[in-house]
Symmetry: C2
Subunit: 226 residues, 2 copies
DNA sequence: GCAAAAGTGTTAAACCTACACCCATGA
DNA sequence: TCATGGGTGTAGGTTTAACACTTTTGC
């Protein structure tokens, strides 16, 4: 086999959602290149681990955040993307529920932060491009797979779901039509629990019924939201 | 930087379409491992070329087929997928118009062949899995982007388009509804040319108007076929 | 004139869109 | 009682789905 010296890395774009704000998990680099810049969590793949295992390990090591949804995003391999060596990065796309949103104490909190997607700092390497691609994937996927629930608490208000769609898709949604449509899918369970946020009429809690969704999917049901 | 010895390869799943048959371009391996097995065209990325350049080069070298559409598919990196070394493969998805379908004479025709997707031989490595993934991508993409035209001749019959959809999506299509819908998009040009296939009423030729499509897309038009 | 493929319209049902008022609560 | 957010229905327009006969040609 011919000589080839290209390094293989994985990077994860992990989204969280809280208070109507979509955020990305970043770490501050403590070594060159791009020292002191914020970057996506990630690192080199070990020779004996799968790509998924690698990204899961890096996310655990660098952020200690529990990831609720993970899938491969895209591979970036332009020649100059790392100033030192040729490094290709296989990137992953992750979602975190609010239950797991907080940065745990045993990583240095100064070096791991959630950043509002609207207010990203200058990033290392081509990580801005990667986040753009992940944002696109999130927007698209939200309309044809029920992944929004992986950004919401297990029990959530209907208004939470609506606000999530409004925020991420960046467009207004008609409350009545949205509710009719989603409830019509029959994949939500209305709980016998109400939550009063202090003002206004208390709202009902809902739960995503994953089993039911997969059953319907088997039968040809398509989750689809304009 | 830590020691890491992983090789980076690219592989291409190139589809062609002729006589109602969807085919994939394969090459016969002449070295171990999997000597004499059929495999996807591909090979190691050079240190100074981009991933796209690599796959384009390999396709040119190994098959000499002109590719009309190319996009990244997925990266495969399971530890044991290559019995020799750790090799991750960044795979690409390609389409070839009938104009470019034939295998050119300056590659050894015995070693490069189009295979009916329904009758694939045993393949090297995890290439069967990769082709499955590409087939899925093709099916999905056909419904939301006008890529079918990259599998048809520049001038085509409406019935060709219909048969292409029937073949790839593996389901019947109502001729009248399909025609109404596609023509309603306004992205086809009806030519003043008829073709007689020997029997039956001669049919009109059509052309995909790519410029028009992109103009409409700018304005929010969505290509969408159930 | 017959076999073969191309071309064409209508109707009912489903779905989408727009739109505004009452309800339950806390302060 | 007022401010706040939650919950609900209807009507018009658009889109989809189902369906079959006529046209043009070669033999």
């Amino acid at each position: 086999m011919v000589h080839q010296n290209i390094k293989v890395a994985v990077d994860g774009v992990v989204f969280g959602y809280k208070d109507n704000i979509l955020s990305v998990l970043l770490i501050k680099r403590d070594i060159p290149p791009f020292q002191e810049y914020w970057a996506l969590p990630g690192g080199l793949v070990k020779e004996e681990e799968s790509l998924e295992a690698a990204v899961e390990r890096e996310l655990k090591e660098e952020t200690n955040v529990t990831i609720d949804y993970l899938e491969q995003l895209y591979s970036f391999g332009e020649v100059g993307r790392d100033p030192r060596n040729r490094v290709i990065s296989i990137t992953y796309f992750g979602l975190v529920k609010p239950e797991h949103y907080t940065i745990k104490a045993d990583t240095d909190a100064n070096d791991v932060q959630w950043f509002d997607i609207q207010e990203l700092p200058a990033l290392a390497f081509d990580h801005t491009t990667i986040i753009e691609a992940a944002k696109e994937r999130l927007k698209n996927k939200l309309t044809y797979e029920p992944i929004g629930f992986d950004l919401l608490a297990t029990k959530f208000l209907f208004s939470d779901l609506e606000k999530l769609y409004t925020t991420i898709l960046e467009k207004k949604i008609d409350r009545r039509n949205f509710r009719k449509k989603i409830l019509g899918f029959g994949i939500l369970e209305e709980l016998d629990e109400k939550v009063s946020e202090g003002r206004g009429r208390p709202a009902n809690l809902f739960k995503f019924n994953k089993k039911q969704y997969f059953m319907l999917k088997e039968k040809g049901f398509l989750f689809d939201i304009k």
